[in-house]
Symmetry: C2
Subunit: 215 residues, 2 copies
């Protein structure tokens, strides 16, 4: 434990900006495995994220069963076919079906993140009016994990085209856990500082000025 507050210099600040700029949602993975110690290090940093009331409501479920992985991939493909239907008849449809939206079959590591909606830790501090703060705490841990991974050259892909109840049932977790994310983790086939959806013309980055308001 350091007892004096650290100062971060310009060199660190520049590299931190580079880290943010090269963090991508990865769907194309190289076959290289992620070392078990690296996975442990990523998780240890993820839980340095803030959590409401220090409730630490995150529950990480690592997938070890090949049959489960195949079932998850099939489920996401099905849900994706339904989602594609939203764009049917629109010029965007061809772009949609050309997108690779998950790497569940080939990513070296698959991990689900759940939120314990009734954690003992935290004694319910800060959630009387906003119970969603527990779920938001889990998201903060995921974003921390994402940056920790990128620092090590590892990519993460967050799959959301799925039915949370179906995936929750597949993974057989306690009833008070809700699914936050299904994550694919591995070395990216093509690191980039530009989002794939931007590269492929789906959606560009919008000006910050359009996102900031005053009251």
């Amino acid at each position: 434990m350091t007892h004096h507050a650290p100062l971060f210099d310009d060199d660190f600040a520049q590299r931190f900006e580079t880290l943010l700029r090269w963090r991508r949602d990865v769907r194309h993975f190289a076959p290289q495995p992620v070392a078990e110690q690296v996975m442990a290090d990523l998780l240890a940093q993820a839980v340095l994220a803030p959590s409401v009331g220090h409730a630490q409501p995150w529950r990480f479920v690592r997938l070890r069963t090949p049959g489960l992985r195949a079932a998850l991939a099939d489920h996401v493909d099905e849900q994706n076919a339904v989602a594609a239907g939203e764009h049917a008849g629109h010029a965007r449809y061809d772009d949609y079906v050309a997108l690779k939206l998950h790497g569940i079959r080939e990513a070296p590591e698959i991990m689900a993140v759940f939120c314990d909606e009734q954690p003992l830790a935290g004694h319910r501090l800060g959630i009387a009016t906003m119970p969603e703060m527990l779920r938001y705490s889990c998201v903060a841990a995921i974003q921390t994990l994402w940056l920790a991974a990128r620092l090590r050259g590892i990519g993460l892909g967050w799959v959301s085209i799925l039915d949370p109840r179906t995936v929750t049932a597949m993974l057989d977790v306690p009833p008070q856990w809700s699914l936050i994310a299904l994550l694919c983790i591995g070395y990216p086939a093509e690191p980039s500082d530009k989002p794939e959806l931007e590269q492929r013309g789906w959606q560009s980055r919008e000006p910050l000025a359009d996102r900031v308001f005053e009251r």
Copy 2:
């Protein structure tokens, strides 16, 4: 734009770990203002966060009206009195009322973060079955802002003891925006690598092993 994927060395990795360890939820602020350019830099880094479908659904509302700040502080104090009632008759009650849970009156900067639940950007990619992904994207931006702030010696406090509908009405935003966070931003009075709730015996950090499961 760099065209070769960056490598991050051990020195950076160690300082990144230090950054994570010194990120705190701050409720005690020094009076020193945050320079306008620094606020702009923080926001510019926050929006490097991932967002579902690249929808960039975050909407940042900076508070400039003293009367609004006072009204928000009063509202949070009221809600906090209600929340304290949950602990009445329990040994924890005295600990609860001794906690300072927000710095709304004294923080140099107050900012609300909203999620646009119907963003034009992203063309609804990735939210057919999990519309909450839009809100989760906003949380990823907040955690990014949090780290960007800490890098600059600035603290952030996330206030969640409030009624989101009341605060949303106070801030007079479009009807499809939902409140994600009310943030206090400024230099911390006492930087620390230990959460205040841990220092005060409310809740300790739990072992990572209790958070990781396999299926």
